[in-house]
Amino acid sequence: MNYVVDILLIAVSAALINNFVLYYFVGICPFIGVSRKVDMAFGMGCAVTFVISIAAFLSWTITTYILKPGAPLSQWVAGMFVSPEMAASIDLTILCYIVYIFAIASSVQFVEMYVRKFFPALYKSFGVFLPLITTNCAILFACLTIMSNVAGVDNPADAWDLGRSLTLAVFGGVGFTIAIVIMAGIREELDLCDIPKPLEGAAITLVVAGILALAFMGFTGVDSGLKKALTPKTSEMVQAQVVRQQDQLATIALSSNPVGMHR
């Protein structure tokens, strides 16, 4: 039960509350570049969701079995050369950026070949944007979030399993798709409007995105409400929850620092 609640919270949080584009500002380039037509935006969203899931699977596997301190595979390899005590202290997390970017680049290559073979029409309409997914921050961001939740936790029992990691990735991708499709819909209408000349193009898109982000801020606090509704609890826990919730709202109101990971 607890696990299901956890998964649900991660999903809602990744897709709506802490939307990748509108809250963390990752994946802005395609958000502005490919949001002219709704169908193309939807295709881009699907491609990103697909790549992000593969990359998340790879990064979770690599982090858990190779990179994090005391990971089985690296310990086994090192154990062949040095004493077991030394092998247990091996920490390869410093390599994570290089490893992740390599994993992402290769999975994008794979997706590109797959799409070209089976969906030639889609491939044509993507054009230059498919290779550009490699340099889409949203994907690296998902990998880094997973890493900080696998290797960066103090208590090994809190480390995310594959299910949680994949949920974050898939719903992060869904959140990206939602944002980019809404944006494309607005821009299709915007083409018919009389926009001041200097604001045409990227500038008006950013202003619209700001208003969209303002709307998405309305989801703030949905996660704590959802958690309250889903966890059975005693009256003391309810009290504690209310206090925590108030604290959270106060921090949100006062926060001068939306940067940094909240999960």
Partner: protein, 203 residues
């Protein structure tokens, strides 16, 4: 290579005429994410400058060895190496700042600005050109980040570098330091820069 830009041209162009943020609209993730305070923005600009400079020089040195279809991977791996250095340096000497910037330091790897400069300049010209280009682009990027951060910090908290500049009576526009403020500020500043450029052209 007769009409290729000289180092000085590269340097000057990066600052305003080809400003990475306002003219080329590149590298928007850090531009939007870390500009809620000038301190964070300047640290970010310095980190980007370091990575851009080193990556540009290295790419320029190995430009004859690059294979066309593998070059983007080589660029990203070079950049990733220097980002790791910058990230470890910040974590060691500016721990609090590295916590504030969080995932946005590693995200420099996928900053299109750096890959674009490697592709446009460093993979075609000598290290001197590449270095001058990196310096100019970094200054331009720093200026852009600084201007956005200044607007957001003054309107959002009434402070600049953590020092109060507006009177106490100023009602803090909290929205300016939250995510929507970043989009609005950048959009409007971009519009203002476009307007200015158009007026210059007319004259």
């Amino acid at each position: 290579m007769a009409d290729a830009p000289t180092p000085l041209e590269r340097f000057v162009q990066g600052i305003l005429p080809e400003n990475p943020v306002y003219r080329q609209v590149l590298g928007l993730c850090p531009t939007l994410a870390v500009t809620n305070g000038l301190n964070a923005a300047m640290t970010m600009a310095a980190a980007v400058a370091f990575v851009l400079f080193c990556a540009n020089i290295i790419t320029s040195l190995i430009r004859d060895l690059l294979k066309p279809h593998l070059r983007i991977v080589i660029f990203t791996l070079t950049i990733a190496t220097f980002v790791t250095i910058a990230d470890r340096f910040l974590a060691a000497y500016m721990y609090q700042m590295s916590k504030t910037l969080g995932p946005y330091i590693p995200l420099i790897i996928v900053n299109c600005l750096i890959i674009c400069r490697c592709e446009v300049c460093a993979s075609k010209q000598s290290p001197i050109h590449a270095g001058a280009d990196a310096l100019g682009q970094s200054i331009g990027f720093g200026l852009a980040l600084g201007s956005i951060a200044a607007v957001r910090e003054i309107l959002g908290t009434g402070m600049l570098f953590g020092i109060r500049v507006l009177p106490e009576i100023w009602p803090d526009w909290v929205v300016m330091v939250l995510p929507p403020g970043a989009f609005l500020t950048l959009g409007l500043l971009l519009g203002a820069v476009n307007w200015y450029a158009m007026r210059q052209q007319e004259q």
